[in-house]
Symmetry: C2
Subunit: 499 residues, 2 copies
């Protein structure tokens, strides 16, 4: 068997999982050329939460980031993570927006598209796969791994065959919660190789301390690629460190060759970046924690969730809410937990604990029950469907969710023109997903806007929001954070516009 | 093959590796009965640094701890870690003291003795093994695992045969630095099974993130027992968590059965203890760090070392000193790094970096070169031996180090009698290793000593120590800690008598 190959995730999932997606393009560029020389089979640099973060927190145009990284690292294929019909947002978009996004991304230099659907409903992947292939790019169809009574190796392998038949170039096993046991990883890779016949990549997280061992088992079974990162943006809730994987493969016939001195250089460089981002990192995400094995919560979700519960004064309810997640998941047909379902299930579990089960049903949770995100893998709880019908009169839909959506591109272009903003495809798709943030990117900059992480001496006083009851309301504006220094006393404040 | 068995280390190596050995007997006892019911094949509760810590920091009689734990957990065999002729100290003791120690320990209830020598010189293990067998107890001969040009699987297996011929009941592979690669673990277990024929235990640390995968490989190869701990005293520089190992073994034909609810209870209990010991824990030890792969430094040493370098104002020299450790190790004949050689090599590396190579040779480093700790596995650097001879006139010794030591037990008894202290074997062996600390244990207690971790409203004012320069002085008394509440303002203070 050939040496296993490594894709490197430090520029996307590494910092998304361990530093709230806050690495800037400026922090990436000095490492890009070195990464390009290492012999990685791919660099994951884009997609997932990075588009949102570029616009919302970093004031960057995400397409400019991609072009800059392609220029700095032209040799190694670059990967993005695409949420199927949700693109990089939390709800379905019409086909013409998905197509425009993929075309714009391909034109900006994207090589490999990792395409997944949170419910593993392949109908939500067809448009993206078709467009990627039409652009002459590599479509990697992702199988979201999770455990439940309906998620068997056989079912996953069947999905692999469906992805092949849709035209995918390769198959990815996406273990976003880091819960795949080594024996299962072995079986799944072996079965997929035998029955699907496409190259296979395993992507996992070391959240529960299973990731590296799962990679080893997959390598034994013949996986083509595993995805690693660079410490300190590695291990814990992120991917296993590259140096660590090499050590684990010592004496293995499939151990690849890497320049250890260059790896040490990269590690040293990223240690500096990690320190710069210390406001967004936490030891809670660095250590392995097998609690995730019980609740099947993805690493990234776990870290955000701890903060959300604190904001809701529910910091002491973590265990209870985590247990409720299990219940909500079953009621919603055993959906995998991955963006956006992880957020939706998490919010509903929080509401159930706070107000009583199903006393308040979040609209997005109802939408899942009503098949508006696609077909759940299992059966939605009949009692829940009854409650939703009693309260809203809505019944489950049958067709593909996006079939109900009209084309939006012409309208998006009109809206942008009316605002005197660019109207090309890049602009349209960003405007479709992040209207305020995109407008903000093009707004004339006030002279003295403080850059993030620089302390301000006189923050603008924010009007106090209405107390309580607003805490679960949907944010409709960007979050502004201030570091206050009043007479030498430091404190922090945040202001966010809500619906 | 039978299910693999787990020894649990939370009461010894778990807190030694992650909380500076500071867990008190009072903190252990509430968990002991639950641990006893779980079906662990053994509980490691004693030895290593725990004796030192009991006397120096916790004001406890270590034999009383053992008796209390035996009473609370009578069913599961209890293990101790014994440093061969060094007992639980850093230098050789005469045979009669080693014999008295083992007899006293066996009488107090010890079941299994893990016996190792830092240099893997089996001549340093004979007295301990013989005495353990004479007491009718289980002798587990340990092979200290390390990597170097002279440490081959064949050499380790040869040592395994030697341990069997010395009368050991089982063989332990002691990977104190957590550097054993899964393939090597597999080969070593397979070879030891074939050529030695005794039950085998693998003990490792997850410091570099290899531990759990090494256990899996060893289990595939037929290892009888692996050693796990309970989170949060698990993973990182300690042993892999029990729940995590069970998850890794999902679907494996050798997966053992454990009560997951009871495991969750234990985890919850130890989470409270971990918080109580927060002064001694550090995120640096909780995350996996593959740096250790380059320098082969045991987890426990790495954490102590960071503090020592800071105290020496050499906090910025960590990388340089770690690289020098490699050089010193080669010069001293590729000795494994484990207590006490890890401390000795570490100190010498620090001296080399501070003053230049071999400008100052620590007496203990010279003793290693002169075979006073036993035979190093490789060849000692001839230039170094020449330097030592020029400065001290000393040449390497040939025989077993302890052969040069006269019996000490009668003298120890006299010394204790003269001080009006107990003169039984327990007293003699503790006095032999920790004279000041043992005397302190029996000193009349001042009336108003506050108990540790209990808040006091009016702490006794402590005379301020001389500023600076005292930081590296040896502590000769127990550490007293105070929580101060001054006008509602909480703070902490500690007082420790130093030499």
């Amino acid at each position: 068997m050939k040496p296993v190959q490594f894709n490197n995730t430090v520029l996307r999932d590494g910092h998304q999982s361990l530093a709230a997606t806050r690495m800037t393009t400026a922090q990436m560029l000095p490492a890009a050329a070195i990464l390009d020389e290492m012999g990685f089979s791919g660099l994951e640099t884009w997609g997932g939460a990075t588009i949102d973060s570029c616009l919302r927190f970093l004031g960057e145009n995400p397409f400019d980031r991609l072009r800059a990284l392609k220029k700095a690292a032209p040799k190694t294929p670059q990967l993005m993570l695409l949420r199927g019909q949700n693109i990089v947002q939390y709800t379905s978009f019409p086909d013409d927006v998905v197509e425009a996004f993929v075309r714009a991304d391909a034109a900006a230099g994207q090589d490999i598209f990792r395409i997944f659907d949170a419910l593993n409903d392949t109908r939500n992947l067809t448009t993206a796969i078709k467009t990627v292939k039409a652009c002459g790019k590599h479509a990697r169809g992702e199988i979201c791994y999770t455990t439940s009574p309906v998620h068997t190796v056989e079912a996953f392998v069947k999905m692999g065959s469906a992805l092949r038949d849709l035209g995918c170039d390769s198959i990815g096993i996406k273990d976003m919660s880091g819960v795949i046991a080594p024996r299962i990883a072995y079986d799944m890779v072996a079965q997929l190789r035998k029955k699907v016949g496409l190259p296979i990549t395993l992507h996992t997280h070391d959240t529960a301390g299973l990731g590296a061992a799962a990679y080893l088992a997959a390598i034994d079974a013949g996986v083509d690629i595993v995805e690693t990162s660079i410490a300190p943006f590695a291990n814990g809730t992120a991917q296993p460190d590259t140096l660590r994987m090499l050590a684990l493969l010592e004496g293995h016939e499939r151990c690849p060759k890497f320049d250890l001195k260059k790896l040490a250089e990269l590690r040293e460089y990223f240690t500096g970046v990690y320190k710069e981002l210390s406001k967004f990192t936490s030891p809670d995400n660095e250590r392995v924690d097998s609690d995730t094995l019980i609740y099947q919560v993805p690493g990234g979700m776990l870290s955000n969730f701890r903060n959300q519960l604190k904001e809701q004064n529910m910091g002491d309810k973590l265990q209870e809410v985590m247990a409720e997640i299990f219940f909500v998941r079953e009621a919603l047909g055993w959906i995998p937990l991955v963006t956006p379902t992880s957020q939706i299930v998490g919010t509903q579990a929080m509401l159930n604990v706070k107000f009583g089960r199903w006393k308040t049903i979040a609209p997005a949770a109802a939408d899942i029950a009503l098949n508006k995100y696609g077909r759940p893998p299992g059966t939605v709880d009949a009692e829940l469907l009854k409650l939703i019908f009693e309260r809203t009169g809505a019944k489950p839909i049958e067709g593909r969710p996006a079939d109900a959506l009209s084309p939006r591109m012409p309208k998006l272009r009109e809206e942008l023109a009316a605002k005197n903003l660019p109207t090309d495809d890049e602009a349209c798709v960003l405007h479709a997903m992040f209207p305020q943030e995109f407008a903000k990117l093009h707004a004339p900059k006030p002279a003295a806007v403080p850059t993030p992480l620089v302390s301000v001496t006189a923050p603008a006083p924010a009007a106090p929001a209405a107390p309580s009851a607003v805490s679960t309301a949907k944010a409709i504006g960007p979050l502004h954070r201030y570091r206050l220094n009043i007479g030498g006393q430091l404190s922090e404040a945040s202001v966010e516009e809500i619906a």
